[in-house]
């Protein structure tokens, strides 16, 4: 089964994304901050990652860089409410494959994951 990791400090958002992806047949792993995401990525090597940017402990941009250092082929899409150009550019420069603006709609989440896996 294809594994997708959802990273967000808000339990509500994790559950929401997980529910959407599980309905599509994906196995979902959850992490509540960047540091935990790096650890889970290292252990489970998910096929794709959907990650928030503003999080405690380690933010999404730092976690993206760390995950890409562990696995240069890692497929990570960032999702955030703060779609400012500088943040988007930094994420893309650091290897993010896609950028999902919150509030994310279920079909947008599924499309982002499918695109990463295609």
């Amino acid at each position: 089964m294809v594994k997708v990791m959802v990273v967000d400090d808000a339990a509500f958002m994790r559950l929401r994304a997980a529910k959407t992806l599980e309905e599509q047949g994906y196995e979902v792993l959850q992490a509540e901050n960047g540091a935990q995401a790096v650890q889970i990525y290292h252990q489970h090597r998910p096929d794709a990652v959907l990650m928030d940017i503003t999080m405690p402990e380690m933010d999404g941009l730092a976690a993206l860089k760390e995950i890409r250092r562990l696995d240069p082929a890692a497929r990570v899409a960032m999702c955030t409410a703060m779609g400012q150009q500088a943040i988007v550019m930094e994420a893309l420069k650091s290897g993010a494959r896609d950028f999902v603006l919150k509030p994310f709609q279920p079909d947008r989440v599924v499309a982002a994951v499918n695109k990463m896996l295609s």
Partner: protein, 169 residues
Amino acid sequence: MRAEFINPFVQAANAVLQGELGEAPSRGEVRLQSSAYTTNDVTALVGVTGQVNGVVLFGMSQKTACCMVSRILGQEFKEFDALAQSGIGEIGNVITGRAAVLLAEAGFVSTIAPPALIVGRGTMITTLDLQRLVIPLETVCGAVEIQVALKVALAARVPANGTGVALAR
């Protein structure tokens, strides 16, 4: 409080609430308020820092809060539990984040802090010398009141000499 701060929040709230709840909210008359805010059942607080500083409050009844998270997640919340609280915090976070993007486009670059929640009515919140812009909204789940208390940071403020040149730090 600057009038140009109204539109980013109105636009962001409209877009987010329409996307999340399936119907656009209707807006009441925007007003300025200086006196302390007495909380409704649920108040989400989101801090803003950068070229504009301050706080944005989202007040609503518990019934409205439960209705909103129920509609978004597609499962009924009868109690305002930790998961529902997380959902309301995120709505505040996402609306403020969207508004921050619009504020940045208008020349006020700022970032937002993680949301906090006050649960329980009757708490008095004062924004001290900052006037609040009150945006009353009527959503499909009931009334939501957005209170915007922001000021332009010193480095971004246009000087009083009227040159229109922002102070450089």
